[in-house]
Symmetry: C2
C-alpha cells in the first residue's frame, strides 16, 4: 500500500487565503514557510538570506518575529483542523498528523497577539529551526508557544495568540 500523501500545513490553506507574505504558497515574493507536525510539536525550517541582517552577522529581529508569527498561525490552523476531524471535538488532541493527508482544508487563523523574546543574537547563515507547541485551544482561540534555534541553540522564544478568521474581516 503506498504511503499516504503528506502536505505542509500551509499548502492546505484554501487558495483565497494563501497569499500571506510569510507563509502563503501563492505569494511568489514571500517566504513561503512550510510547517510540518511531529507528534505533539510543529516544526519548520528556514534559511535567512544575506540581506536579512540586523547587526552584521546576525538575523534581523523582524524576520524572526515574522517566522514565529506564521509558524504560530500555521500551528493554530493544524490544531483547529485536529478538532474539526475528531469524532469527539471536546476530546480531540491538540495536534493530529492525519490532518496533513489533504482530505480537509485548513481553517485560517489570524494573529491577535504576538510576543517575542530575543534571548541572544541569532547567527546569520545557518538554517533556523522553529518548533511550536499548542498551549491552549479554546473556542476560536489557540495559544502557541514557539522556540527558534540556530545550530541547536535556542535564540528566541515567542507566543502567538491566534484566532480563527471570521467570514469577513471588514
Amino acid at each position: 500500500m503506498p504511503e499516504p500523501t503528506r502536505h505542509p500545513i500551509q499548502d492546505l490553506y484554501p487558495d483565497d487565503v494563501a497569499h500571506c507574505y510569510g507563509c502563503g504558497h501563492l505569494n511568489e515574493r514571500g517566504h513561503r514557510i512550510k510547517s510540518d507536525i511531529e507528534g505533539d510539536e510543529t516544526v519548520t525550517r528556514f534559511t535567512p538570506q544575506p540581506h536579512h541582517t540586523a547587526i552584521p552577522g546576525y538575523v534581523y529581529g523582524g524576520l524572526i518575529a515574522s517566522l514565529i508569527d506564521c509558524h504560530g498561525t500555521g500551528t493554530a490552523a493544524a490544531s483547529g483542523a485536529a478538532r474539526a476531524v475528531a469524532a469527539d471535538p471536546d476530546g480531540a488532541p491538540l495536534l493530529d498528523e492525519s490532518v496533513l493527508d489533504g482530505s480537509v482544508a485548513m481553517p485560517r487563523y489570524v494573529t491577535g497577539k504576538l510576543e517575542v523574546s530575543y534571548r541572544r543574537p541569532t547567527p546569520l547563515g545557518p538554517e533556523l529551526e522553529l518548533r511550536g507547541r499548542v498551549r491552549e485551544r479554546r473556542g476560536r482561540k489557540v495559544v502557541v508557544d514557539i522556540t527558534l534555534s540556530a545550530e541547536g541553540v535556542v535564540t528566541a522564544e515567542g507566543t502567538v495568540v491566534a484566532v480563527e478568521m471570521p467570514e469577513s474581516l471588514g
Copy 2:
C-alpha cells in the same frame, strides 16, 4: 541664519551598524524606515508594497511587527542620545529633537522583547503611520510604546524593550 540640518534617527547610526533589514540606511534591499522626533513622540511613515499581504487586502502582520520593532529601537536610540547630550543625564528629557542635528552619533539599541497586539486588520494600500513614546529609560534599557495607524485608525499597538548594544554580541 540657515536652518540647522536635520537627519532621520537611523541616518545617524554608525556605518558599521547601519545594515538592518528594517532600518539600516546601508541595506539596499531593506525597508530603510526613517524616524523623526516630534515633541515627545517619534514618528515614521511607511507604505507597504502589494506583496506585503496577509489575507488579501490586508497588511502582513510580520511587516507590522518589523516596523514596530525598528521604530522602537530607533526611538530608544534617540532617547539614549538625549541622555548622552544632556548636561545633567539624570534630568535629561526622554526625547530631544536637537540630537537630530548630526553632531552626535546615535547609540545602537537591540530588541530584548517585542509585543504586538493586532487590534483590527490593517488595510493594504494606504501609508501607515507609527508613533512612539518612551515609557521608561533606565540604565541601558528603554521601553517604547508604539501605535500603528492607517487612515487615522489605530490598527496595531506594540511595545519594544530595547537594550543598548554591548561592544560585542558574541
